[in-house]
Amino acid sequence: MFTYVPLLWSVYLSFFDAHNTVSPHHFVGLDNYASMLGDRAFTDSLETFGVFALFIVPATFALSLGLALMVNRLRYAQAFFRSVFFLPAACSYVVAALIWKLSIFNGVRFGLANTVLGWFGADQTAWLSTTHPPWYWLVIVTVRLWLQAGFYMILFLAGLQRIPPQLYEAAAVDGARPGWQVFRHITFPQLRATSVAVALLLVINAFQAFDEFYNLLSDSRGYPPYARPPLVYLYNTALGRGQNLGEGSAGAVLLALIIAVVTVGQARWFGLARRED
């Protein structure tokens, strides 16, 4: 109810001029959609999401799968390592962003990254405000990687434990060497369902990115013009100075359509690929 009612309401609102009001009178048809699509900031926010997903989805996928494979084969201290990698899940994006912004990637010398790089004679970098090269991506991607890798590691571990051991025995009989061959021909294909789910969740979560962008990049003067994902953009449009709820709703509807297409497309693609097997 709290998903479908607001969604329908926002479709309705998106056809109206609604500044600072939730009970609009002035019907504007598709104007809100036209101005959203013509707005560079909106299309840029989609591009930001694209770049972010391009970094974070493969990085989290690889790290969490790697951690799961390594932890799974441990004979002792398995619970210890699993706990350490899972622990960041207890940390909020706000707290993590604070540590990253004020302690690790601080632009001045007391930041950990600059201190460590300083030992090797490197110059100081203003991580969050340098746009050429865009160092802020490093900060944004590592926060999320740290926070979510442990969770997906647990999903992969669950998947690994469901692989029947007979498969590995058969592979050993057939002379497959442990390591890459076994991983490619047995482990990875057996993790197929888990991998699809993880990839899907990672894309959806990347699309919802807000907390770390907002907390890392905005300050008392507002949000810088770069690296603004769709949710931050919508937040500014609908609840910022303009309180333009009509355009905000139009943006929300457009995003709903895009995510629906992406999700269905992804499901189709994986579904079709499966039938070929």
Partner: protein
């Protein structure tokens, strides 16, 4: 030869794991280190691994600072997280049970409609939800912060999957004894499903405690700030000292760390059993 190679591989893997584990722990260390340091120790250009001395008075200073509504925010967060957890678990378990056990004409369609909301990201619903809540006059109220968040399709899905696998014999016995769905649910199903209730509660509690966007949008008055919103406001407005900020962040994490350490087994089991992969 092969054996030596395997042993070498194992050693490399262990070293890699230890290095990664240290990297994963560094942010926690920095949080505690900075929270217990003097401001000079944090901002010193000659950064050292250990602070010159541990300044425990940061904690009392934080709660005494009139500019920082720390106690109030913590209380808000606690009330919201507890209410959200209880509300979600009650609603989602009942819905999940109904979907799993009570056959009626549209039950499959209802299930797919609920599942569909999982695919609709917060990016899409937060503007319209805000509109709905503000037209109800619930801005900056606990109602506005709690009620819209207690319908969790995810929790409902987990409960449905769990109840589908619940042994039907137990319920049949209850039915023979003349119990209806309602009483069967409370007397037979709930007491025998503690693990799934524990797992969902913990997951929902963590999510509610760490939630940021919704409390930021709805909790506009300082009196309705959650601890996450308070922290975020301090970082962007720079009204407090940096050591106070770090100790506030550390304090905000304590309840969750306790939950994590005490219930880690349930959390992991709950995620593993959630059936996301199927």
């Amino acid at each position: 030869m092969d054996k030596a190679l395997l042993a070498f591989g194992r050693a490399v893997r262990l070293v890699l794991l230890v290095v990664l584990a240290l990297l994963f722990l560094i942010p926690f260390y920095l949080l505690v280190r900075n929270g217990l340091s003097t401001e000079a120790d944090i901002t010193s250009p000659d950064w050292t691994f250990f602070p010159s001395h541990l300044q425990w008075s940061n904690v009392t200073e934080l709660f005494d600072d009139p500019a920082v509504p720390m106690a109030r925010s913590l209380l808000n967060s606690a009330m919201i997280a507890v209410a959200t957890t209880v509300g979600t678990v009650v609603l989602a378990s009942l819905a999940g049970y109904g979907l799993a056990r009570i056959p009626y004409r549209w039950s499959d369609q209802v299930f797919y409609a609920i599942l569909g909301t999982l695919m609709v990201p917060a990016a899409v619903t937060f503007v319209p939800s805000f509109v709905l809540v503000s037209s109800l006059g619930w801005i900056s109220t606990l109602r506005g912060l709690i009620i819209p968040t207690i319908f969790s399709a995810f929790a409902c899905f987990i409960f449905r999957q769990y109840f589908l696998g619940f042994p039907a014999e137990l319920e049949d016995a209850a039915k023979v004894d003349g119990l209806g769905y309602w009483r069967t649910y409370w007397r037979i199903v709930v007491p025998n499903s503690r693990p799934v209730f524990a797992a969902v509660s913990v997951i929902v509690f963590i999510g509610a405690w760490n939630a940021f966007l919704w409390p930021l949008v709805i909790g506009q008055d300082q009196s309705a700030w959650t601890v996450q919103v308070a922290l975020s406001t301090f970082t962007t407005a720079q009204v407090v000292n940096i050591h106070e900020l770090f100790v506030a962040a550390a304090v905000s994490m304590l309840p969750l760390l306790l939950v994590f350490l005490l219930l880690q087994r349930h959390i992991v089991a709950g995620i593993e059993r959630s059936g996301i992969e199927d």
